[in-house]
């Protein structure tokens, strides 16, 4: 809820029941990793993900899909 993944406790509970216990641990790991990425951004002062040359690569990938 803190990250805004869920808007309310009841929404969170409904989602958790739906996905089941097995996937719950995955979700917890992913949300925790997401929080750590925000922490890393605060430490670095910038988004910690850099895709140097990524946009050109994306366009080339789309070109190949033609």
């Amino acid at each position: 809820m803190e990250l805004g993944v869920f808007k309310s406790r009841s929404e969170a509970v409904r989602a958790l029941v739906k996905i089941g216990i097995e996937e719950l641990s995955d979700l917890a790991v992913i949300v925790d990793a997401c929080e750590k990425l925000f922490e890393l951004e605060r430490r670095l002062g910038d988004i910690p993900i850099r895709l140097r040359g990524g946009f050109k690569e994306l366009i080339e990938m789309r070109e190949r899909s033609y």
Binding site: K36, L51, F55, I59
Partner: protein, 158 residues
């Protein structure tokens, strides 16, 4: 998003500023797939981040996607895709059917066409989408048809 994350492109900061601007910003699963694909090729980045935040590499890409969506206050919307029939052939995933239908109207590359198909589906489901913000100049080629037929405008980051 890829443009905003690419420091080698001079438009990167403008893309980041545009993403950070307030407003209702919708993305589809195709945007997430393309971003995942770009991330998956950056093995070194993934290894470094995995070490830094101590998370299994297998969970890292979903975590980055969640981070990006939250970071830029984006709204992910599913198409809730059913599987209608492609006349004479059988069932087909709805975005693909829509792309097929649009291919006669818009002269776009396959992936660009799929992006538009997702937008059309989301619009039909009531999402208030009227603008595509992109650095991909090819969308400009279909600008007139997009505006006239689908009521979608293009904002090119250049």
């Amino acid at each position: 998003m890829v443009l905003a994350l690419d420091p080698s492109d001079p438009r990167s900061s403008r893309a980041k500023e545009r993403l950070e601007r307030e407003g209702y910003k919708v993305i589809s699963e195709l945007v997430l797939v393309e971003l995942s694909n770009m991330l998956s090729k950056r093995r070194e980045l993934l290894r470094e981040l995995s070490d830094e935040i101590r998370v299994d590499e297998g969970k890292l890409i979903p975590a980055i996607l969640l981070y990006m969506v939250k970071r830029f206050n984006l709204t992910y919307r599913s198409t809730g895709a059913s599987k209608p029939a492609l006349p004479g052939l059988g069932r087909i995933y709805k975005p693909m059917l829509t792309a097929i239908e649009l291919s006669g109207i818009l002269r776009l590359k396959t992936l660009d066409l799929l992006h538009v198909a997702y937008i059309v589906i989301l619009k039909n489901r009531g999402e208030r989408i009227s603008l595509i913000v992109t650095g991909d100049g090819d969308f400009k080629k279909a600008e007139a048809e997009l505006a006239r037929i689908l009521k979608i405008n293009i904002e090119l980051i250049d």
